[in-house]
Amino acid sequence: MRGSVFRHWSPGLLRTQAFRIVLIYVFVFAVSATVLVGFTYWNTERSLDAQTDQIIEAEVTGLREQYQRLGLIALSDAINGRVAQHGSGLYLLVSPTGSVLAGNLTELPSSAKVTGRFVEFDYQRNQQGQDVTRTARGQAFFLAGGFVLLVARDVSERHLTRQLFTTTLPWSVGLMLLFGLVGGALLSRNMLTRLDAINRTSADIIAGDFSRRVPVTNAHDEFDALAENLNRMLERIERLMKGMRNVADSVAHDLRTPLNRLRNRLEEAQRRLGPQDPYMGDLEAAIAETDRLIATFNDLLLIAEADAGSARGSKARIELTTVVEDVTELYAPLAEEKNISLAAEPAGVVTIEGNRSLISQALANLVDNAIKYTPAGGQVGIVVAETPLGVDLTVADTGPGIPEEERERVLERFVRLESSRNSPGTGLGLSLVAAVARMHDARLSLGDNKPGLKATISFPRLPQRKNRSELREPPARP
């Protein structure tokens, strides 16, 4: 399991659906959180500004009244009094000529020269012997007689907050994204582990091990529900497969037993009659016919078995080249006798996953057919070639071939061409080859050898050993 933990931190992680979903969610969440926080901040600032403005307006109203009722001196006294309170209030009274009459600001800031509007401006303040630039918000008013009164509040604290906010917000968003990604990766890895278990089980089942089940954890989550459903389905498939196998076995048994008795009785009669009996020939013909019946039955059964699934014949890694050499060697004398050149094109070591016996039988069928239909002086060639998709095993002859419109049809089960009806064999040769091919996830195709037939079994690429072992581990069972 240790290995697989690391395996899950692979680029493959980024391609998982879970990670993509998490990515989208993190993004949407980050955007909405930013907007929400931004809006809240903006709204708070606005209402704080409004509060400040109200206070300033109230103050101005008070000061204006003072001025109207008691005159300029009283106003400057009132201003100086307020300044002395050391609040956050800022005041400035300027004469029409521009000289400062009262207040704690040294000059009228240029932005505040326009009256009737709240503005923010910077000003200098002496703090612990140092001049510091601070920010204020306020409004300038014209008083009767051309005097200008500026009332403002220091809003530096709020400015600092805003600065802090604008610098921290990107960081927060970044951190949020980071946590989201890490969380997403963890979540995806978890999902991937669970899905991997399901995929591994499926791969084993495809490979023929119907006894495998998807592991169920104690989490009782939706994955467990899926696993349980899959397991129920597998249970059913296994039952069906077993049923089918039982049917095949029963059919085999129930037909072979009477066929066996039939053949036994014929042989017994043959033994009793003695070689000179006039019925001997009939008996021999009957036995030969029985044997043909048995051969056809065996072929049909094998086709049905091959189609029933790869679980039947066990597969192993086999050297296709050796299989080809052996079959070529088996048929070489027959070809020579018919004056046909039979040659296997030399190929390097080509390994496929398969059942040696069945592939040999399929190849023997193809070669047998090729020799059967190729006239004397012709050629039969066997080629093993590696293609981008896998391995092609081709048997090509210089016989009459099969008309293009008939090629698809002869690969169907039990079809025999009109022209071959009277030749020996069960006529199931090609059907059997096709079934063996299907059993190996391979494909049998017929082509034109110009002239002649070119039959090709295309095997899929061998799964890499590494992947294979990855698929196999861990061997945990439910």
Binding site: R261, N264, I294, E329, L334, N355, S360
Partner: protein, 224 residues
């Protein structure tokens, strides 16, 4: 020779027993696994013919049980089952040979002959000889009356198998299984062609023909 037949299909059993008796063997029969196992464990047989599917105790289990008891009697399985791997299962369980029903009686006879012969192996031979035909298993050379015969590797194996079973009928299927390791019958009888080639190499020009065709059965090599 004493032969045990364990077969639940009574018709097939009768036929088997009669045929074997006609061939000169002493035959005991059983119709289920339990009786078969009891007989096999209590009496010495030269060979046992056991059906795979038996009532009471499956044929595979009978054989497994026999082997567990240290009984190494040669065993021929008879099976009416279909599975491709069935043969492998039978041989794994401890069977020595395997024949699918329906079978030709000559095939069965040839196989039990071979099995009984196998039971008494003489010391490891390095040379086989039939008449004036000699096969040196170490140097992989063959000579007839002192003349060297040029054989292909497969021809050598074919001749070796025939000579190891000298005086016995060897069927085409047995040759395919032992020399080529194929468990299917090719559509065309390719074995005949191989035999006639081999015959041309070892018998051509000699008065005594060693390699004979036994009609309806197979081949036999013998010095007469």
């Amino acid at each position: 020779m004493r032969i045990l037949v364990v077969e639940d299909d009574l018709e097939a059993q009768r036929y088997l027993v009669n045929g074997l008796k006609e061939a000169g063997h002493v035959v005991d029969d059983a119709a289920d696994g339990d009786t078969g196992l009891a007989l096999a464990l209590s009496r010495p047989y030269d060979v046992a013919i056991i059906d795979r599917m038996l009532p009471k105790m499956d044929g595979l289990n009978v054989v497994a049980e026999m082997r567990e008891h240290g009984n190494n009697m040669p065993i021929l399985f008879l099976s009416a089952l279909s599975e491709v791997d069935d043969r492998v299962k039978g041989l794994k369980a401890g069977g020595d040979d395997y024949l699918t029903k329906p079978y030709a009686f000559v095939e069965l006879l040839a196989r039990i002959d071979a099995l009984m012969r196998r039971r008494s192996p003489s010391a490891v031979k390095t040379k086989l000889s039939v008449g004036d035909l000699e096969l040196d298993l170490l140097t992989r050379t063959a000579t007839r009356a002192g003349q060297a015969i040029d054989l292909q590797p497969r021809e050598f194996r074919l001749l070796e198998y025939l000579m190891r079973h000298a005086g016995q009928v060897v069927t085409r299927t047995m040759l395919l299984e032992s020399v080529w390791e194929y468990h299917f019958d090719p559509q065309t009888n390719v074995i005949d062609v191989h035999i006639s080639r081999l015959r041309a190499k070892i018998d051509k020009g000699f008065d005594v023909l060693l390699l004979q065709t036994i009609r309806g059965a197979g081949y036999m090599i013998r010095a007469r």
